[in-house]
Symmetry: C2
Subunit: 404 residues, 2 copies
């Protein structure tokens, strides 16, 4: 398995692009992205569990209910959520995309991200979609990644190649995140493409299992978005024997998928709204994997702990507090906590009690940009990780006037 260039265009037969079509006022920011496969794809998706859902989610669910899709269209700048005409617009967007690309509207995945509750106009799509369709290229991943950004500060993409039954395969993805990030059994927006041949059922199985340990273990601010969606398109152009059951090749595909999603999850945490530090919390020796997931996510979700990280203060009592209110059955009697970074490491707590350490060393460790919090529960052998970021003045600033 090795990292390669190309993002969602790394796999054979995927074109992509991004453009500014006028949904946003700022002409320097793209607001429309498209990904099109040369060939029909097995499709899988997971969605937000928020009861308020963006209109495109209902349309996408309908379109991929048969397990197949061929293209993705996504706008930023307007979430198309609670908009009076939301479903109508999402359908029109699919129809026009289908027409200019030459495929059926029902083979299109549609997504939106941006402000919730504002009216959405079809006008910018009307000129933007045909223009974008003409500009698609087999090297267009970065443009597509830019077209789905909101308050993200950098494009997030990755691709890797690997072998499957002697065939060279690739898988790649793009993602957007920033704020309203606390996925629940689904996630933010992330589009993944691969040329692996795999059945829709196995593709869905791989994705649904994967998100439990990647996107669902990410928190920027505790707010589960109305628009979360991760999709994978697999067009089979690698020519491997189709994966339609469990086995060695499925395991290899799952590993490759994990490489992509774990990378994007980390990038999303790092670029969390206003973030100055990436926080990676690893829980080991837990009595249950779900408990390990809940505890690690509880720690990276704690406002108090996140503010302490911003202040580079090794206030480990807040780590213990956040462990203690995580749901699930576990003992909080014998917990060890270590904080580390490339600048060193410091054990701050042993057996749920203060462990003698130098505050000076701790402050140095925490002055790095990437901080690891390692927690041992000392009562089992399960482990899990979660990704988050610090809580900063900039988070408050960005969200105090997001719409202005």
């Amino acid at each position: 398995m090795k990292h390669i260039e190309g993002g969602v265009c790394a796999a054979k037969g995927f074109k992509a692009g991004g453009t500014h079509c006028g949904i946003r006022n700022n002409k320097n920011k793209n607001d429309l992205a498209m990904i099109v496969s040369d060939q029909q794809c097995a499709a899988a998706a997971v969605y937000t569990k928020n009861k308020v859902q963006a209109a495109p989610i209902a349309i996408t669910k309908k379109h991929i209910s048969n397990g197949y899709a061929k293209a993705i269209i996504c706008n930023s700048g307007n979430a198309n959520t609670c908009a009076p005409n939301g479903e109508e617009i999402a359908n029109q967007v699919c129809e026009l995309t289908g027409k200019v690309v030459g495929i059926d509207a029902s083979d299109i995945i549609v997504a939106s991200t941006g402000v919730i509750g504002e009216e959405i106009s079809f006008e910018p799509f009307e000129t933007g979609i045909p223009k974008l369709a003409r500009e698609l290229t087999y090297q267009g991943s970065k443009e597509a990644a830019s077209g789905i950004m909101t308050t993200d500060t950098i494009e997030k993409e990755i691709a890797i190649d690997f072998e499957l039954g002697g065939k060279q395969c690739a898988i790649g993805g793009i993602a957007k995140g920033s704020g309203m990030i606390h996925p629940n059994m689904a996630t933010l927006l992330s589009f993944i493409t691969t040329d692996v041949s795999i059945s829709p059922k196995m593709l869905q199985k791989a994705l649904s299992e994967d998100v439990k340990d990647t996107y669902n273990q990410l928190s920027v601010d505790g707010d589960t978005s109305t628009n979360d969606m991760v999709t994978v398109l697999a067009n089979g152009l690698a020519g491997n024997k189709i994966i339609d059951c469990n086995g060695e090749e499925f395991i290899q595909f799952v590993k490759a998928l994990r490489e992509v999603t774990a990378h994007l999850t980390k990038k999303l945490a790092e670029d969390g709204e206003g973030a100055s530090k990436l926080i990676i919390c690893k829980v080991t020796d837990a009595n249950d994997v779900e408990v390990a997931r809940k505890i690690s996510k509880s720690v990276v979700s704690s406002n108090l702990f996140k503010a302490a990280m911003f202040g580079e203060d090794a206030n480990w009592g807040r780590v213990l507090c956040a462990i203690g209110y995580a749901p699930g059955e576990f003992s909080a009697e014998n917990i060890d906590v270590k904080m580390s970074s490339k600048l060193g490491e410091v054990i701050v707590c042993k057996g749920s009690r203060y462990f003698d350490h130098s505050e000076k060393v701790a402050a140095k460790v925490l002055s790095a940009k990437e901080i690891n919090i390692d927690i041992s529960m000392n009562e089992g052998s399960e482990s899990a990780m979660a990704w988050g970021c610090d809580l900063t003045y900039d988070y408050v600033k960005i969200n105090g006037d997001y719409r202005s």
Copy 2:
């Protein structure tokens, strides 16, 4: 029922006081509080559900397991949580208090609040407790309220009087809050006293029911503390016929208790860490009271919504988003949202869709210090309220260097 002066000393036979004994370095801030009843009291309490718990919680549970207590001792400046010698110190504190006050150590409620995980020394208590016991007065409520403060900016106290079977009764309370406030089936620290005669069982019933709609509906930052505790002491000096079953007098007592707890809850939200605005969210027409509680609490807990309130931005999409991720079974299809304050009101959403309104008027409404968010679910007749505050630069500042 009318509001009176006196806080926890408003009821007959309660002395109180507060002092600086050296747990904190800052000599201008009290760090020890004591409340003593002239007569044995029925006692009730609710505690944090955090699995990491302060040492005093275990001691208090043991001491009031027989339903009775006579005094409260509480320090601020150190949470006595995860401290190596926590239980030992909490026991010593009770023993010395009992000795100087002339009561049994097992009749004492003990509590702590402050930094988690730091070693706690008995030394300051050794001189502080005898000194404080000598200084107790029947007008000492405000001093006691100051002794339990951490980052609180004002003392929180209230008292009311009311009649019960022809007897004049009083009930009063003090509370501390500020950060790490997201109570779960219990709460922060609040001590309530009354001279009503009531059995321990009925007192516990009144308190356990009450907190579901008061302290448990409060959120400052989503962090459930390790030290939460609310206690009520009832010494019976009002001379009413003892309340030992349901009935008119129990209902009247419950109403009086609610007046005290609702007032303190509101004060706690208003003085949330870094808060510049109080936010009161009322949910009506819900299909279930627990759903109404969860929805209102979800809204006041949303970081994104709280940041929007700080920015005085009527970004109602964030209200819909926070409603949508509240747990429980309900429809999000027909929701109305109104924002109001003493400066006016504005309907921003009808039937879960944008409702035409002036952003200018909305900005004026939100420029007030106390904001009401009224949500109608339009699917039932149950209602509930929750209290919170905005998310500000100061929250980040305070918690970036809480320990320094």
